[in-house]
Structure formats: structure tokens, C-alpha cells
């Protein structure tokens, strides 16, 4: 196959046939190049729509952000040419992960939120989604009280076509309660999801890890163990769930550390070139914790690291691995805290 000789349609067709991942991304990026070279805005828009979706749900949030930026610019320059509904929906995906990049300032994030609010209002949607994402973003910035205030507003408003599905909304609530470290409320809020009454493409995948630690602390390990097995199957193999794969490592470190090591080995490669710094940070932090735990064992571990990993030659030294991963995680946490103006993430890492 010679990529450079393929037409836009061929590239797109081949891309549609692939599962979400790097190979698909590459085809789409090539399709963008072909479209741009031909000056075909519609094709460029189509291929970028796919990149936004792929990037948002398969672990390339930066690519999604860049492709979306191009789309929004073209949307403004060519009124009426593109579908507003799906573009506005993509806006939410982009905002969902925007706080993960420490280089993006608070002012810039605020500006984007306001921009979304204005655009949604212009299309006739309510400001509920704005408050909902504001609540999410504030929670990600570590301002839980301010986030709570937004949540309170959301509760009073009616859902509309731009609202996330009910399962996603319920999940966000669970996530928020977990951040508040309210174990009982977390488990309670997760109940409808865990019982299968609410589900969607990513729920309960992402919800399960949120209740594992609370259940363990509440003395309900049996339930937690069962959920962990179920949840792990759901997030297996998709790099978009690196954060949750990290949380599985964290939980297994407490209950079955050898299994935790297996999970680590499975995902270390995809964590290396992952685009989401927060997901990487959580993965690294739990990995560090696992290596500290393994260092206490009397057996010697030979850790399987992928080619080119900076610690390739220390694969038998779990203590130095613990240090390496901890430093990586801390470096990100410090950058995030500096941007956020608090000590939320460094404190979080210490508590893990």
C-alpha cells in the first residue's frame, strides 16, 4: 500500500474500515493533507470531523483539539456550509479534556467556555450545558466548591438536545463525588449505572474504577473485586482509557499486586506517546505506587518494558522504577498546579 498515491475517497474508505487507533489516525491525517493540497474545504472538514471523534475517544485529545480548531474557523468563514449540531457537539468533547494541558491558561479556558456559551445560545440551546461543563472544568481545576455551585445550577435546569446522555451525566456526578472523597455518596450515585439501568458507549467503563476504592474503604472488597474484573474487560485495549487502566493498577496494587504488574506491562507502551498529560500522570502515579509495593516483596521482579523505554536497563530494579514514575507524575502535577493556582494535584498524588 502506498499511502501517498491514494485518493481522498480511498483513504477515507480505508480509515472507516479500521478500529480506532494510530493506523486509522494516520490515514485520516493523510486524507487531510490530500484535501488541503487540493484546497477542498469540504473534504478537509469531513476528514477532520473523523479526527475529532477518533482523537476524543481513542486517546489523541491534542489532535482532536487542533482539528476542531480548523473546523470552527472554517465554520465561521463559511456560514451555513457545515452542520452546526455535530460541530457544537464536538465542542463539548474538546472542552472535556482541555484542562489536561497545563500550557493552556485559565483565561484561555474561560474564553473557550464563554465562546461555547455564546454559540450555544445563538443556536437556541440552553445554558445548561455551559454550566455542566463549567462544573466539570472547575472540578478538574481542583476547585470543588465552585464546581458544586455549578452542579447546583445544572440540577435546576431542563435537559436539551445538547445535554450529554443521562448515563454520562450520572457518571460525571459519580466522578465529582469521588473527588469530594464522599465514599458513600459515590457508591450510591453509581448504583443505577452499576445495576445496568444506565449505560452508553463509555459508561459503565469509566464509572467502575470510581467506586473501587470507595467500596474497598467501606469494607466491601468482594463487590469491588467482582466489579474490577468486569470493568477491566471494558477498558481493555482502548488507549483512551489510560487513566482508568492506571486506576485498575492502583486498585490491584492493594488487592493483587502481581496482577497489577501485568496490567502495567500491557499499557506501558501506549502510555509513552499518550497525548493526555493528566491520563499519563495518573497512570505513572499508580505505577510508581505499585513499584513501591513490589519493592517490599522478597521476590525479584523482571519488568517487561517496551523497546526504547528510558528505564530499559533498570527493568529488574523496582525501586528505581518507582522513583522514575513518581518523578514523571509529580512533574506534571506541579505544572498543572501552577496553572490552576493551587496544590490540588500534588496533594492528590501524595494521597493516592
Amino acid at each position: 500500500m502506498n499511502l501517498t498515491e491514494m485518493s481522498f475517497d480511498d483513504l477515507m474508505e480505508e480509515a472507516y474500515g479500521l478500529p480506532g487507533g494510530k493506523a486509522k489516525l494516520e490515514l485520516l491525517e493523510q486524507a487531510v493533507r490530500v484535501a488541503d493540497a487540493a484546497g477542498d474545504i469540504d473534504q478537509g472538514y469531513e476528514a477532520r470531523s473523523e479526527i475529532v471523534e477518533l482523537g476524543s475517544f481513542h486517546g489523541y485529545p491534542m489532535k482532536a483539539l487542533v482539528a476542531f480548531s480548523w473546523q470552527l474557523g472554517q465554520y465561521d468563514k463559511n456560514p451555513g456550509r457545515f452542520d452546526d449540531y455535530s460541530l457544537m457537539w464536538s465542542y463539548k468533547w474538546v472542552l472535556d479534556r482541555i484542562t489536561a494541558f497545563a500550557d493552556i491558561s485559565r483565561v484561555q479556558i474561560e474564553n473557550l467556555l464563554e465562546d461555547m456559551k455564546t454559540r450555544f445560545a445563538a443556536e437556541g440551546y440552553s445554558s445548561r450545558t455551559y454550566h455542566y461543563y463549567r462544573a466539570h472544568i472547575l472540578a478538574e481545576l481542583g476547585e470543588l466548591d465552585a464546581s458544586q455551585a455549578e452542579w447546583d445550577i445544572v440540577q435546576t435546569m431542563e435537559r436539551d438536545e445538547m445535554s450529554d446522555c443521562q448515563a454520562c451525566e450520572q457518571h460525571h456526578l459519580v466522578e465529582f463525588l469521588a473527588k469530594r472523597e464522599d465514599d458513600e455518596a459515590t457508591v450510591k450515585a453509581a448504583e443505577p449505572i452499576l445495576k445496568g439501568k444506565m449505560s452508553c458507549g463509555e459508561v459503565p467503563h469509566v464509572t467502575i474504577t470510581k467506586v473501587l476504592f470507595p467500596l474497598l474503604r467501606l469494607g466491601r472488597q468482594k463487590e469491588a473485586d467482582k466489579l474490577q474484573k468486569k470493568g477491566y474487560k471494558l477498558v481493555k485495549g482502548n488507549r483512551d482509557f489510560l487513566y482508568h487502566q492506571g486506576e485498575h493498577i492502583g486498585y490491584l496494587t492493594l488487592t493483587d499486586p502481581i496482577k497489577a504488574l501485568e496490567v502495567f506491562e500491557e499499557y506501558i507502551a501506549s502510555s509513552l506517546d499518550h497525548e493526555n498529560p493528566v491520563d499519563q500522570m495518573i497512570f505513572n502515579a499508580y505505577s510508581a505506587k505499585m513499584f513501591r509495593r513490589l519493592a517490599g516483596e522478597s521476590i525479584r521482579f523482571q519488568v517487561k518494558l517496551p523497546a526504547g523505554h528510558p528505564c530499559e536497563h533498570q527493568s529488574g530494579e523496582v525501586e528505581s522504577l518507582a522513583k522514575h514514575f513518581r518523578q514523571l507524575a509529580l512533574a506534571t502535577a506541579e505544572k498543572l498546579d501552577k496553572r490552576n493556582g493551587n496544590a490540588y494535584y500534588t496533594t492528590l498524588l501524595q494521597q493516592l
Partner: protein
């Protein structure tokens, strides 16, 4: 006399509504009435075997007479038969089923319950159904006659009948095809190919046996290996394709088995997976997609099982824990066989892999132990051509790129240097290459970045460095604004004057910069912030090849005046050759340069008259 024995009843249901549901929503085609009748016969035979098994042999007899709307079909079994109470029971079941909806169909698998539904499906092709049945437990023979208007009669028959059930169907207008001999023969085989009882089809002209005794490898799929030709012939007959190889399937419980025929042609990752599944010997699905793991897209299977729960239409299976386990075990059968081949029959494995590398790679990416056993045969694209990994790993360290884009950037140069680089750009490849040391600790792999092809370049001599020092400095300053640095080297092939290489960061930075030009203010500012961190790392390199005679001349101090334009043009040319999108500034540069060179050319031509 007759009236004494005949009672007229009404179904307690809206029968035409039921028939409509069955034919339009539940069953994929009216021809399933044959499956339902065969199923009724099998159930009756099974029940009779349980009742008394001395020398009894079950069989099914099908007879068609007359043509077009005058055609009548008889389907007869020598099973246990029904007594009056049971007839009322199955009719009651039909009544219940309409109230309980599909749940009833999916959960109730008792002989009697199924019988009623099966008979009901015949209304799809007939308005006049007569059933004559004699229970093996004694009592009078009974005749049941049903009409789609919801009325039926039951009549006690005089005389002695052999135990069993006969169902007579009179052809309904528009259903002629379902009473045609050729079709009947095909469809009966279609559903009943694996039935353990003989089915006989009789018409005015001939009597034929639809299915021979079910082969021994159906009971024990492992035996299939000893009956290779027979199994392949069976595959062709049932699946309509010519296969050359297969893998027997089995589960530990012994309740599910099958044959995975290896597709004779390569298939796409997203190709439909249509496996044919028999439940309790009867065909239930021709399109079961969820019975094998996702990676097994290189086989088409015949599977028989008695442990899975069919959905309401009885054409698919419920996704439950049982199915999950069966799927895993069937997948294991395939995996084990491939691993066995790697050890004892590598040629066979090789021929499978040559067609189905993608499927093998999908499995290898999922399962490290499988990968370790078959990795030597997996083909990868490289600067030495498409070669199996076993051969490629003889050239340590094994360089690979993680994307096609990176591979493209360096492939010409690497080939010309006889440098082995493996393309990790296609699906699963980079992942597998980076894991190679995990399955073979002796092999060293290294991810090659485009900027690292210079590893194999020849440095220029100290004298050359001195001679070209000023020119290189000048060139460097010209490209500074494009975050590109200049290197003077010697490399093959000499036809390539310049090579532009780009790190991942600089590639990303270029895209960010280009997008900033078209985006909104709020997002441009965000992209600017993201770019800021990349910027320092984002230097591209333009290698000038001194082996190329033009480059030698261009860098000669005598041409310093023209050099900036030459550098700019070669830079733009390198971007185009590498298929990089150019930003506004670069396009402007290219335009200016072309005009400049035309001007120079015309000036020179004016002096020489174009005869130079």
C-alpha cells in the same frame, strides 16, 4: 357419526396478528417453517427414544405431491405423537405466547411448547393445515385441522395408526416456491445437514435421502484431521466455498464443536463474519457473528452446540456468560492449532499467514505467548521488501518507525544506504515491533526517528567543513524563520539533493502553526500556547547532499549571492517531495523564487542567446 367425534374450537388469540408477527418480524424467511417442522420431528423422536428405546430408529419422511397451488406437502415423523390433552396444551401455549410476547419464545423450550409455535409458523405458507397424530402412549389417533381465521377442529380417528405425527400443508397462493421439489431438497439439507436421523424426500418421480448419517467427526471434531478430504467436501457442500484447510473446534464441556474452515482469500478487518451454527443438530444461524473472538476473521465456521441460548427468532444467540466462555474456548482451539502448526507443520502455518497476516497480527497483539510462537512468520514491510520477521531480525539492531509518515521520510535514503528499516505504520505493526524483545530477548529493536537517518550519513571532511563554512552559515540563517537547520553531508542516493526530516514535535508544530492561520481567536491563542512548548524541540533539519554535483556547485563560495534563493527553493522542493502542507509564507517564497529563477534564466539566455 362423524360429528360426534368432531368439536370446533376457536384459538383464544388473534391468529392473523400472530402470523404477521412471525413472518414479518421474527423469522428471516417463510422457509423457516421447514426448520420448525424438522425441529418438531426431532423433538418427537427424542421424546420417543426416552420413552422406550428397544430397537427404535427415528426417521423423517417428507413427501410432496401436485404442483403450484394444488401442491400438498407432508412432513412425517415416527416420534412420540400427541394425545388429546397434549394438543390442548400446545394450543394453550400458543395462546399464552401471544400474551407473553417474545420472552416466551426465547425461554420455553419444552417439547410441547415448541411444537405449537413450530406448527403456527406453517401458516406463513399454508391456509390449510392438517395434523394427524398417534401417541405412542396409546389412545385414539387424532386429526387436528387449523385455519388462519382462528378456528380449528379436533377429530378422533378410527383404526390403528403407527405412533408418530404427520403434518399436511396445502399450498397457499403466492407460496408455490416453498412446495417446489428442488427448493425442498436444498432447504431440507440446509437446515438438516447435521441431523442424526435420516430425512427422506419423496416426490412423484423420485425418492432421495437428504442427509447421510452424521459423520463421526461431528461427535468428536478431533477426528476431522483423519477425514480431511471428507471434511473439505462437506464444507464445500454446506458453505458453498472451496477450502483448502481447516481447524477442528471444540470446548472442554464437549457440548460445542465445529470446523473452522480457513478462508481461501484474504479478508478485510471489517468483513462480515458469517458463521453457520447448528443448535441441537438444527441450523439456527447462517450469520452468527458473535460466536468467535474478533481476531478470528480469517475463518468461516460450522459450529454445532447444545449449550447456547438462541434469541427469539432462534437465529442468533444471547450475549451472556455462557456465550463468552464458548467464544473463548473456540478461540483457544484455533490459537492452539496455530501454535501446534508452528512447531510441527511450519509450511502449513506459513501458507495461512501469507493470506491472513492481519488476523494473525491482531491475535499476536492481544496475546504475547501466541506472538512469541508465531512471530518469525509474520510479514512486515521494510526497506528490504516484505519479509517475515524471522528473517528481518537477523539484522540487529532492528530499526523500525512507528508511523508510515516517518517511514516515508526516510525510506529512500535508508534503502540507498542498504539500511534495514521496518515500517511500523500499519495497524498492529509498531506495537508488535516494540514488543519483539519481550518474546525474543536476544533481538534488539530500536525505534528510528526520521532525524536519526543521519546516523548512516558520511560526515564531510574537516577541509570541506572549512571550505563551506560561510555558505552553511548563510543557508542556516535563511531557513531560521522556518525553524529549520541546515546540515551538509554526503549520502546515497546522489540523485537526492536535499532531504527534509522532521521530528514528531516539529511535525506537530507545523500543523499547529498552519491551523492557527484559519482558526478563531480563542482557539488560535490556545494553539499558540500549546505550540510554545513544542517550539524549542521543533527544529527540522534540511540535509544537503554534497554527493549531488549541483549542491557542490551551489555551496561554492563563488555563488554566495544566489545561495539564499537556491536554499529557499530547495527547501520548498523538499517540502513538496515529502508531501508536507506548506503555509502561506512558504508558498509566497516558492512563487517569488520561481519568478526569480525565470528572470535569471532569461537574463543568462539574453546574453548567450539561449545557446549555452
Amino acid at each position: 357419526m362423524e360429528n360426534q367425534n368432531r368439536d370446533t374450537y376457536r384459538f383464544q388469540v388473534n391468529l392473523s396478528g400472530m402470523i404477521n408477527i412471525l413472518s414479518n418480524h421474527l423469522y428471516s424467511s417463510p422457509k423457516v417453517f421447514l426448520r420448525e417442522l424438522l425441529q418438531n420431528g426431532i423433538d418427537a423422536i427424542t421424546a420417543r427414544q426416552a420413552y422406550s428405546s428397544d430397537g427404535y430408529e427415528g426417521k423423517i419422511h417428507v413427501e410432496v405431491s401436485g404442483t403450484s397451488t394444488g401442491a400438498t406437502l407432508l412432513v412425517e415423523d415416527n416420534g412420540i405423537g400427541l394425545n388429546e390433552a397434549e394438543i390442548h396444551e400446545f394450543l394453550a401455549m400458543i395462546g399464552q405466547s401471544s400474551k407473553r410476547g417474545e420472552d416466551f419464545l426465547s425461554t420455553n423450550t419444552s417439547f410441547i411448547g415448541r411444537f405449537g409455535i413450530g406448527l403456527l409458523s406453517c401458516f406463513m405458507v399454508s391456509d390449510d393445515i392438517v395434523m394427524v397424530t398417534q401417541s405412542a402412549k396409546g389412545g385414539p389417533a387424532l386429526e387436528w385441522r387449523g385455519k388462519p381465521d382462528g378456528t380449528y377442529t379436533i377429530r378422533k380417528l378410527e383404526g390403528q395408526y403407527a405412533p408418530g405425527t404427520k403434518v399436511f400443508l396445502r399450498c397457499k397462493e403466492g407460496s408455490e416456491a416453498y412446495f417446489e421439489e428442488g427448493n425442498l431438497q436444498e432447504w431440507l439439507f440446509h437446515y438438516g445437514a447435521l441431523l442424526p436421523y435420516p430425512i427422506q424426500l419423496v416426490s412423484d418421480h423420485t425418492t432421495r435421502l437428504i442427509n447421510s448419517q452424521s459423520p463421526p467427526w461431528v461427535k468428536d471434531p478431533q477426528l476431522a484431521r483423519k477425514h480431511r478430504e471428507e471434511v473439505l467436501a462437506f464444507g464445500k457442500q454446506v458453505l458453498g466455498e472451496t477450502f483448502r484447510d481447516f481447524i477442528p473446534l471444540h470446548t472442554t464441556s464437549g457440548r460445542t464443536g465445529g470446523i473452522a474452515f480457513i478462508l481461501p482469500q484474504a479478508v478485510n478487518l471489517n468483513a462480515k463474519r458469517n458463521h453457520r451454527v447448528y443448535l441441537k443438530h438444527m441450523l439456527v444461524s447462517e450469520a452468527a457473528s458473535n460466536i468467535l473472538p474478533d481476531w478470528a476473521f480469517f475463518v468461516k465456521c460450522l459450529i454445532w452446540t447444545d449449550e447456547l441460548q438462541p434469541t427469539a427468532s432462534r437465529e442468533h444467540f444471547y450475549e451472556n456468560a455462557q456465550l463468552e466462555q464458548v467464544r473463548e474456548e473456540l478461540g483457544n482451539s484455533i490459537r492452539q492449532e496455530l501454535m501446534r502448526m508452528a512447531e510441527y507443520d511450519p509450511d502449513r502455518l506459513q501458507s495461512i499467514i501469507s493470506l491472513h497476516a492481519l488476523s494473525m497480527k491482531a491475535l499476536a497483539a492481544e496475546d504475547l505467548s501466541f506472538y512469541s510462537i508465531i512471530h518469525e512468520w509474520l510479514p512486515f514491510e521494510s526497506t528490504f521488501g516484505r519479509k517475515p520477521l524471522g528473517e528481518l531480525k537477523q539484522h540487529p539492531p532492528l530499526y523500525f518507525t512507528s508511523t508510515l509518515d516517518e517511514y516515508r521520510q526516510i525510506t529512500h535514503v535508508a534503502s540507498a544506504q542498504s539500511m534495514l528499516v521496518v515500517n511500523g505504520g500499519f495497524i498492529y505493526d509498531a506495537e508488535l515491533l516494540s514488543r519483539l524483545p519481550l518474546v525474543d530477548p536476544d533481538v534488539k529493536t530500536e525505534r528510528l526517528l526520521p532525524e536519526e537517518v543521519s546516523l548512516s550519513f558520511t560526515d564531510i571532511t574537516p577541509q570541506e567543513r572549512l571550505d563551506y563554512y560561510e555558505s552553511v552559515r548563510l543557508a542556516d540563517s535563511v531557513l531560521q524563520k522556518f525553524r529549520c537547520q541546515v546540515q551538509l553531508r554526503r549520502f546515497k542516493p546522489e540523485e537526492i539533493p536535499v532531504l527534509y526530516t522532521l521530528s514528531e514535535e516539529s511535525a506537530q508544530w507545523r500543523v499547529l502553526e498552519a491551523t492557527k492561520e484559519v482558526s478563531t481567536d480563542a482557539l488560535s491563542s490556545v494553539l499558540g500556547s500549546l505550540g510554545a512548548t513544542l517550539k524549542d524541540a521543533a527544529y527540522a533539519t534540511l540535509y544537503f547532499n554534497l554527493n549531488n554535483p549541483v549542491i557542490g556547485r551551489a555551496f561554492h563560495p563563488a555563488h554566495q549571492k544566489m545561495l539564499p534563493s537556491i536554499i529557499e527553493m530547495l527547501y520548498c522542493n523538499a517540502l513538496m517531495m515529502g508531501h508536507y502542507p506548506m503555509n502561506r509564507q512558504e508558498i509566497a517564497l516558492l512563487n517569488k523564487g520561481i519568478i526569480q529563477f525565470i528572470d535569471w534564466g532569461l537574463t543568462a539566455s539574453h546574453v548567450t542567446g539561449g545557446d549555452e
